[in-house]
């Protein structure tokens, strides 16, 4: 027991130090973003005050699940003898409680705090996502052209998750906000799609020789349009007066695609390990809900595009 407590202590100390470094490395845009984030939190509390209490643990569990299936450290922790399920479970419970606490305090919905923590804790014991899943979207991944290599690999890995979201958008399309919510959740998964490493030659061939970043973005956006066409049509049939909701959803996806893509290539350099920093991506995602954050996201986006172009030039000239 002492050993387990000591192990968790070692892990926790490292994670706290790591968080400090991540915040420190956020730099000036991060400092600018902090007051805006505060406004975002206040706006969020105001907006979420009217939703039913069970939505809070549902939302935290979704984000924890998304994190759980994306993390790459479980193999390392297992082989170094950590009790992975417990460590992840406690970590998730702490993070979910901290995230849900302001909203729970604002709405005085205290009963939902243990529910959110318990839901997150259980996620820690879920098995790793299998690499291949036998649903139709992963199968579709095989048919995608090589220029969409990120989606090919992502659909093989997270295909079941994307399939479920897509099916839900069709099956529940009579609900007014369903398409918009599905597109929001879909947009939250896009950064994971672009986190994949790929051979340098492929990147150069596809992005640089294939017409640059903008063309690459266009290709990916076209794919999203094709995937969501049935959902968009159903939305227009059921709710023709609310056509603009579909447009808003598509804009979310377009923005997250651009950001994830620019961020990926801004942090990727030939011959160097990438350092994935979740703060800019989180900011970009929350800007979908609170446009006040858009200037910061725009600043990041321009900076990342400039860096990405520089990295491609380095790779191309090498």
């Amino acid at each position: 027991m002492d050993l387990k407590v000591n192990s968790f202590g070692v892990y926790l100390r490292f994670r706290v130090r790591q968080l400090g470094r991540i915040l420190y490395s956020a730099g000036i845009p991060g400092v600018i973003a902090l007051p805006l984030l505060l406004i975002f939190v206040l706006q969020g509390l105001e907006a979420m005050a009217k939703v039913p209490g069970w939505v809070i643990p549902l939302l935290t569990s979704f984000f924890i699940l998304n994190w759980h299936f994306r993390r790459k450290d479980s193999g390392f922790l297992k082989r170094t003898g950590f009790a992975v399920g417990w460590i992840f479970g406690i970590e998730y419970a702490v993070v979910a409680s901290c995230a849900a606490l302001p909203l729970i305090a604002y709405t005085a919905n205290w009963g939902m705090l243990p529910v959110a923590a318990a839901g997150a804790f259980v996620c820690g014991f879920l098995p790793e996502w299998s690499v291949r899943q036998n649903l139709f979207l992963p199968v579709m991944g095989w048919g995608l052209p090589g220029t969409l290599f990120e989606w090919r690999s992502a659909l093989r890995r997270y295909g079941a998750l994307f399939s479920m979201l897509w099916l839900f958008s069709l099956a529940a399309s009579y609900g007014l906000a369903v398409l918009l919510i599905v597109m929001l959740l879909w947009a939250s998964l896009i950064p994971s799609v672009f986190e994949y490493q790929e051979p340098r030659e492929l990147t150069i061939a596809v992005v640089v020789k294939g017409g640059g970043l903008f063309r690459h973005w266009l290709r990916h956006f076209w794919l999203q349009l094709m995937v969501f066409t049935p959902g968009l049509l159903l939305h227009l049939v059921f709710h023709p007066a609310y056509w603009y909701l579909a447009l808003i959803g598509l804009s979310f996806i377009a923005l997250m695609l651009a950001f994830a893509m620019a961020y990926k290539y801004a942090t990727w350099q030939p011959g160097r390990q990438r350092v994935v920093q979740s703060l800019p991506v989180t900011l970009a995602y929350f800007s979908l809900f609170f446009p006040l954050l858009l200037p910061v996201v725009g600043f990041y986006l321009l900076r990342f595009v400039k860096r990405a172009r520089h990295h491609f030039k380095m790779a191309y000239d090498a």
């Binding site: 050993l3 892990y11 790591q18 193999g75 170094t80």
Partner: protein, 231 residues
């Protein structure tokens, strides 16, 4: 004595290893050779229960061996972002807090206060190796430990392996560099198509290279004949 019997492993319905039998004594460095895709990494991962399905028996000194008693150095080690070398080793030694990090680092002189992102490939390999040593395991599985190491570090690794042998650890090691395998291993098992074709004793090492060449030539002969065909 490490005894692996009737080991089968795979992913989903695909069986990659079948009916593997292997014995290695305490204080022995046992080489595992094979072409790319022969199943060396799957073999190591299966022993540690890291991913592939597993069936069979693994015992150490006659008792079932727990995966937590097996240290594994992967060919591409994982490092957290924003992690210093010191923090990596602290995580690795959590079961063995007495492991003297500074003393062992004297062998490689790594800048442990720096973030691992700034490390070169060889330095990362050395750090991962120290991490495995910090874990106090009975059996070590080293997947390509020599790849990416400079000449000096290769010599240091030879010394470390000799030291570990004297501690009575059992080490299974995979490598593509035949010369290093010959130098460090007491015996070598040749893995092909998911099975151990043959185990070479130290005295048979002279025949090892020619045996591998013969096996490969029988495979490549037909391919070369096709390539040389006109049109």
């Amino acid at each position: 004595m490490l005894e692996i019997s009737s080991l089968a492993a795979g992913y989903g319905k695909t069986l990659i290893l079948n009916n593997i039998h292997l014995e290695a004594a305490a204080g022995e460095v046992h080489g595992v050779l094979g072409i790319n895709g022969a199943g060396k990494t799957t073999f190591f991962k299966a022993l540690c229960r890291l991913g592939p399905s597993f069936s069979g028996a693994v015992t150490w000194q006659g008792e079932p061996l727990s995966p937590t008693d097996i240290g594994y150095l992967p060919a591409t080690p994982y490092f957290y972002p924003y992690q210093t070398g010191q923090e990596y080793l602290e995580l690795c030694r959590h079961r063995n807090p007495g492991f003297p990090i500074e003393k062992w680092n004297g062998l490689f002189q790594l800048p442990l206060k720096d973030l691992t992102e700034t490390y070169s490939t060889g330095m990362r390999k050395k750090l991962a190796l120290l991490g495995v040593l910090a874990g106090r395991y009975k059996v070590l599985l080293l997947d390509e430990p020599f790849s990416g190491l400079d000449l000096e570090s290769t010599e240091v690794l030879f010394e470390i392996l000799e030291q570990l042998k004297s501690y009575g650890l059992c080490i299974l090691l995979s490598s593509h560099i035949l010369a290093t395998v010959r130098q460090v291993c007491s015996r070598v098992s040749y893995l092909s198509a998911g099975q151990i074709l043959r185990t070479f004793e130290h005295d048979d090492f002279d025949t090892l290279e020619s045996s591998i060449k013969t096996t490969l030539q029988s495979r490549t002969k037909a391919a070369w004949a096709e390539i040389r065909k006109p049109g």
